[in-house]
């Protein structure tokens, strides 16, 4: 995979004949259909598939990857300007004037995603075969995983926001099912629900954005929307941009909808690696990049993307410094790295390239690290507390080495892949905008890099180095080949992918037709100075972590810590804020609505009935049964009528 772009670039047009490439592209729907079929077969097939069902899922995932590579090769064989192709699949919603077709968009951006998603997913499928070996529900797990792959591919291949939405919901569903995979544990089931609800908040934004798009542009395909941007008012575009950002925040765990990601670690570790690190959570970045022209026309929305990215990047980094649960620390780091991507996605066409670049690089090194964490947990009987680890590097050599590759990559140490993507984001942050903005955004990104170095080194040292803190009677051991091979491959990606893609601006040129031509501007301070500063901060972070977590003894029970640590352990009180601001006020609202319904609406209905009943009760007292009293009232009435008539006459 790492060398793929360059080798194929060398092989080029000659390798794939034009006719074959057309056929490959026309059957791109197979990419979605294969894993979907896998999921259907596994879910419907019943118990008799238990023995070999997981291999079917693995095969489906790999065949999707192979198709993706062929697709890439065929697109690569065409001239750069022809690399965008819309495939009409079928008429989806034919309703009078409203025509919505389901179609796939093949362009450099979506194909880059397809390659990354299918490749990482396939490796993780292989890993899961071993990881889930002793789980009685392994077949169900693989069905969900295939469902996820299908939805994710639909998400990135869709040619309209409406079809993207289908994939968007599909990955949300798969995420929910997989977080709550061990749903016999109420905490895990609650975590799944939390993720689902937080995602729903974001989806609301996406839904309304699609509605506004339809009202403004008369259609929801990318072509219709993005070509209509020039004619729309800035207010409308800002509204669409903000709503899309809301959707992206929900899916990508960005501030203020980030609280679900930490709890999402309740799912099996391969799920965390695939869905909550490498692919699904980056869908928000994809959405923002795909909607680039909207954001370029709406400055406010674009600025907000930058701010959201910057806030989340610091937020995740701070939380990551305090977590002792290895998976939650990695989740905080994911959040922070996606913050980087968001920030880059808010910086215009130059940023898009680096956002996607960082996204791919991150997909590799973070998935690798998660698989490493899973391997550690596998060896330590499911323990996740890093304070109970230490000096595991000696007993789990492969895990240690692959994790080290990921660690160096996320730190941005040259020549690992993170260096090429993250440094570029920091540089771009220093180069975009005018006045104080580049300074502000740039320094946030810079400081974030330093904190990242600290917490990732802390995680690495606490797990693999320092003093041994696990009990003598636990026997940490290296995992089997099925688990280590995917880790090694991902580690190779962490090492080489960045360099391969950055070499000669390969990736930049590849994405250019999809993201628009990037004009790189000069940063406010020299690029070399930015790189130097970043590396210095990273070195400082690593040194600090080394002093505190390798050389010094790490206490087995967490010390009290300063207020910031305490706050960070509790996710900076995000859950509490949500509870007070949203949950309690929401409950208050429902209670008051119930009260109004009971007393107000029901009161009117019941009150009317009671009033009529009471009136009838009073009136029937008149029926005494005494004939003479009736006669009296008749006489009185007659007299009254006569008197009335006489009075009128006179």
């Amino acid at each position: 995979m790492t060398a793929l772009p360059t080798t194929l670039a060398a092989a080029g047009p000659g390798a794939v004949s034009a006719a074959a490439s057309g056929a490959v592209q026309e059957r791109a729907w197979l990419l979605v259909a294969l894993p979907l079929a896998g999921a259907a077969v596994l879910l419907l097939g019943g118990r008799r598939l238990n023995r070999w069902g997981h291999w079917l899922a693995v095969a489906m995932s790999w065949s999707a990857f192979v198709w993706g590579v062929m697709l890439f090769a065929s697109l690569h064989g065409q001239a750069p300007d022809d690399r965008s192709r819309t495939l009409h699949l079928f008429t989806w919603v034919p309703a009078g004037n409203f025509q919505l077709d389901a179609g796939l968009l093949l362009d450099p951006l979506s194909v880059a995603f397809v390659l990354m998603v299918t490749f990482v997913a396939s490796l993780i499928h292989v890993y899961s075969v071993a990881y889930m070996e002793h789980d009685p529900d392994r077949r169900r797990f693989f069905a969900y995983m295939n469902l996820f792959v299908a939805s994710m591919l639909l998400l990135v291949l869709a040619d309209s926001y409406a079809l993207l939405y289908v994939g968007w919901e599909g990955v949300g569903l798969a995420s929910y099912l997989l977080i709550g995979f061990w749903n016999h544990n109420p905490d895990y089931a609650a975590a799944a629900k939390k993720a689902f609800v937080a995602n729903r908040v974001g989806d609301l934004g996406l839904t309304v954005a699609i509605m506004i798009m339809f009202a403004t542009f008369g259609g929801v395909t990318y072509t219709q929307v993005l070509s209509g941007v020039d004619g729309a008012s800035e207010g409308t575009l800002t509204a669409i941009g903000l709503l899309l950002l809301l959707g992206a925040c929900g899916k990508s765990a960005q501030f203020p909808l980030q609280s679900w990601l930490g709890d999402a670690m309740a799912g099996p570790t391969p799920v965390s690696a695939l869905i909550h690190a490498a692919t699904m959570v980056t869908a928000g970045v994809y959405l923002v990049v795909r909607s680039g022209p909207i954001y370029e026309a709406a400055g406010t929305a674009q600025l907000l993307v930058v701010i959201v990215g910057a806030v989340t990047l610091v937020f995740g980094a701070v939380v990551g410094c305090a977590k002792d649960d290895i998976k939650k620390a990695l989740a905080a780091s994911t959040m922070s790295q996606i913050g980087y991507m968001m920030l880059a996605a808010g910086l215009g066409p130059v940023g898009y390239v680096f956002a996607i670049f960082h996204l791919l690089a991150h997909g590799f090194f973070k998935a690798g690290m998660f698989l490493g964490a899973g391997s550690v947990m596998h060896g330590m009987d499911g323990c996740v507390d890093m304070r109970g680890f230490g000096r595991l590097g000696g007993v789990m050599k492969v895990t240690w080495l692959t994790f080290a590759a990921g660690w160096l990559a996320i730190l941005g140490v040259p020549p690992f892949s993170g260096f090429f993507s993250k440094d570029k984001i920091i540089e771009t942050a220093f180069a975009t905008g005018d006045g104080a903005r580049p300074w502000l955004v740039g320094s946030v990104a810079l400081v974030g890099a330093g904190i990242t170095a600290f917490y990732m080194s802390r995680l690495f040292f606490m797990t693999f180095h320092g003093g041994q803190r696990w009990a003598r009677d636990s026997h940490p051991h290296e995992s089997g080949l099925l688990m280590t091979v995917p880790m090694v491959v991902l580690a190779l990606g962490s090492v080489g992918l960045g360099g391969a893609l950055a070499f000669d601006d390969t990736f930049l040129n590849w994405l250019e037709p999809a993201t628009g031509v990037a004009h790189e501007e000069d940063p406010v301070i020299a690029a070399a100075a930015v790189q130097g500063l970043t590396l210095a901060l990273v070195a400082a972070g690593v040194a600090l972590a080394w002093a505190r977590y390798w050389r010094a003894e790490v206490p087995v029970t967490a010390p009290a810590g300063n207020p910031l640590t305490v706050a960070a352990r509790k996710d900076l009180y995000q859950d509490q804020v949500n509870e007070v601001l949203l949950m309690q006020s929401g409950q208050y609202l429902t209670r008051s609505l119930v009260f109004v319904d009971n007393r107000g609406v029901d009161g009117v209905v019941r009150g009317t009935a009671a009033a009529i009943g009471g009136l009838a009760g009073r009136l029937r007292r008149w029926q005494t049964g005494f004939v003479r009293s009736y006669a009296t009232s008749m006489t009185a009435g007659v007299i009254a009528v006569v008197l009335g008539v006489v009075a009128v006459r006179i």
Binding site: R620, R621, Q623, T624, G625, F626, V627, R628, A631, T632, T635
Partner: protein
């Protein structure tokens, strides 16, 4: 004038007396006072409409007497009383 006096006497009888027979007689008195008024006004107006209506009233009153007396007899047979106040079952 005479008819008005007779009508008032009849009405008072209906309202004040308790014996069903007497009440019935009051009713008849009111009917006949009305007849008297019809005939009188018919004569004053110089046509026979009043007399025709009086004849109809007498006819209806005869039928009414039959039904009324039958009801009173039936009630007396079952309840051993001809008082209108005792027959108060038709109430709430």
């Amino acid at each position: 004038m005479l008819s008005a006096v007779l009508f008032s006497i009849g009405a008072a009888t209906v309202l004040l007396r308790r014996n069903a027979i007497i009440v019935f007689m009051g009713v008849e008195l009111m009917l006949n006072s009305a007849n008297l008024a019809f005939v009188t006004f018919g004569r004053m107006a110089g046509d026979i409409d009043g007399q025709v209506i009086a004849l109809f009233v007498m006819l209806v009153a005869a039928a009414e007497v039959v039904v009324g007396l039958a009801v009173i007899t039936a009630v007396f047979r079952t309840r051993r009383s001809a008082s209108v106040d005792d027959a108060n079952l038709l109430k709430y």
